[in-house]
Amino acid sequence: MESSTAGLSMKLLQDLYRSMLRIRLFEEQVADLVEGGEIKTPCHLYIGQEAIAAGVCAALEQEDYVWGGHRSHGHYLAKGGDLRSMMAEIFGKATGCSKGRGGSMHVVAPEVGIMGTVPLVAATIPLAAGAGLAAKLRGSRQVSVAFFGDGATEEGHFHESVNFAAVYRLPVIFVCENNFYASHMQLLQRRAEDNIWKTGEAHGIHGVRLDGNDVAAVYSAACEATERARAGEGPALLECRTYRWRGHVGPAWDMDVGVLRKDELKDWLPKDPVARARAQLLDRGAGQEHLAEVEHALREEIEAAVTFARQSPPPDVSELTEHVYASRGGSACET
C-alpha cells in the first residue's frame, strides 16, 4: 500500500492530506448541523470518500472542469470552491454560492471550473463530455472531469457519454466513485458483476480499477489520465472503490435507508483514507504538532464559515423570479 506514495513529494502529500481533512471536517460539521436541525436541505455526505475528490482534483489545473452530483461537497472543496459560500448555500442564504436557489445538491464555483453539480443521477456526465468537446474545439489544454457514483453507471446516458467521448477522443475523465450502494441497493442487486471498470474496454477507452481510499493511488491514476487527455489520447474511466460511512442522505451511521450494514462498516472504517494519509505523513517524518496546527486552522475556517452562514440574510423574496432566464448573451463563463 505504502508504495503508492513512493514518487510523491512531501509537499504534495501534505496538500492531499489537508484537502481530505478539510472535506472531512466540513462534512462532520454539516452532519452536526443537520442533526441539530439547523440545516434543512438534504445533505449527502462525502465522509469516507475524501481521497477520490482530493486525489483527482490535485491532478487538475484551475481552468479544468469538474462536474458533480448529489454528493459533491467534496468535489467542490477539493477543486478550490469557496468554503464559506458553500456553507452559506447549505444554510439557504443569499450569500451562498447559488444564492439560495441550490442548497446542498446544487453547488457551483465557475471561477475554479465547477460548472454546477445537480442531483439527478448521471445528469452531469453528458455535460462533462460537452465541456471536453468545448476544450477540444477551442484547442485549450483543459480537461473535463465527471464525478459520479456506481449507481450512475446504470443510466443509459453514462454509456452514451463514454461512447461519445471515445469516438471524438475528448479530454474527459470519467471518475466513478464505486461505494457499492445506490441508496439502499447493493451493487450486485443492480448489476450482474462487480466490473464497472470493464465498461471502459467495451467502449474502447482506457479503464482502470483502483483503491479509492488511497489518495496517492488516485492522484497518480488521475495524473496519468489527464496527461493522456491533454495529449489528445482521449478519455479514461477510473473506477475508484470506496465506501460511504454515513447514510445515503443525512448523517446516520449504522443504518442505510433500511439496510443495516454494520458489518461492512467494520471492514471499511480501518481503511479510512484520511487516517491513512496521516499515517503516511507521520511515516515520512511530518511532525504531530504540524498536523495538529493544520487541523486547528481548518477547524477555525469551518467555524468561521458557519458564523458567516448564520449571520447572512436569506434570499430576498422579491427576487424569487430572477435568473429564470440569463441576461442577453448568456453568462460569460469561459475559463
Binding site: K40, T41, P42, G92, K93, G96, S98, G100, R101, G102, G103, M105, H106, V118, P119, L120, V121, A122, A123, G151, A152, E154, E155, G156, H157, A182, S183, H184, M185, Q189, R190, R191, V257, G258, P314, P315, V317, L320, T321, V324
Partner: protein, 325 residues
Amino acid sequence: MRNLSYAQAIREAHAQLLESDPRVFVLGQGLWSPWYAGTSLKDLDKEFGRDRIVDSPVSENATTGAAIGAAIAGMRPIVFHPRMDFMLLAVDPIVNQAANWSYLFAGRVSAPVVIRSVINRGGEQGAQHSQALQAFFAHIPGLKVVMPGTPYDAKGLLIAAVRDGNPVLYIDDRWLYEEAGEVPEEMYEVSIGKGAVRRHGADVTIVAISTMVREALKAGESLEQRGIHAEVIDLRSVKPWDRDLVFSSIGKTGRLVVADAAWKTGGVGAEISATVAGEVFRMLKAPIVRVCLPDVPAPTSASLERVYYLGSDDIVSAVEKVLAS
C-alpha cells in the same frame, strides 16, 4: 367506515391488486427501501415476494420500457417513479411507445400499464426534486392521467387504472400522504374521467387538482364566512377530465377559478380555461383566473419556498378577483 391515510390507501390498493390478479406486479426504484415511497409501498416485498415487487437499477428508461413490454405481453404492471422529475428519462417509452401502441396496431395489441410517479417537493430540495408535469403528459393522445386528492380516490383510482387497459399515469403527492379519510375495505374503482363536487356553492366554481383540493376547501370555508358560496370540484382525472361536471357548475356560477399546483403557462389550467372559453363561453360572467405556480423552477431556500408554493389564500385572492371583475 375505516379511516386510512392517503399513503395507506395507496398501499392497500397495491396489496389488493397483487392479491387478486396474478398479472399485476410492481417495478421501479425504491421498492425494497422502507422510506423511498413513504409508507405507500411499505413491506409489499415481504408480503408478495421480490419476484413481484421488483426494485431496480437506476435506469428509468429501461424499467419503464420493461413495464410497457410486460404489459403488451399480457401482464398488468405498475411501474414506480419515486419522483416525477426522474420520469423525464422515460419520456420516450411513455410518449413514443406506450401512448401509441394501441393506435399503431389498430388495437390488436395494447399497453395496459400504470405509470405511477410521485410529486415530492419542498424541504429545500430544489428544482430537480419538485416538478409536477401533469400537463406534459395530458397533451399526449393515448395516455390517461389521474391525480387523486383524497385517500378514497387514491385507492379507487389506482384500481381503476390497473383495470383500464390503457397506459395510465397515476400521480400522487407526498404532501397528501398523511391526510386521513374514509376508505372502504373492499376493492372499488373511481371512474377515470369523473370529477367530484366537494363543496356546493353558486357564486364561483373552483376546479382544483390534487393538493389544491384541500386548499380550495379551506378557501371555500373562509369565503363562506364572508358570504361567498364557492363550489369546489375535485377534478381527480386530468385526462380525460370531466367537462360535463365543470360546465354544469359554471352554468350555475358563471365564474371559474382553476387551481393547479404546477407552472401556469401551458398547465392543465390552460386546457380547462380554453375548453370553457371555447365550449360554454356564453355562460361565463367574468374572466377565468388560474391559481398556479409562477413560471419559475423551484428554489431551495425555505424563505423562497414559502413564497413560491401555493396556499388557500392564493385561491381566496383569485376568487376575489373573479368576483370583482
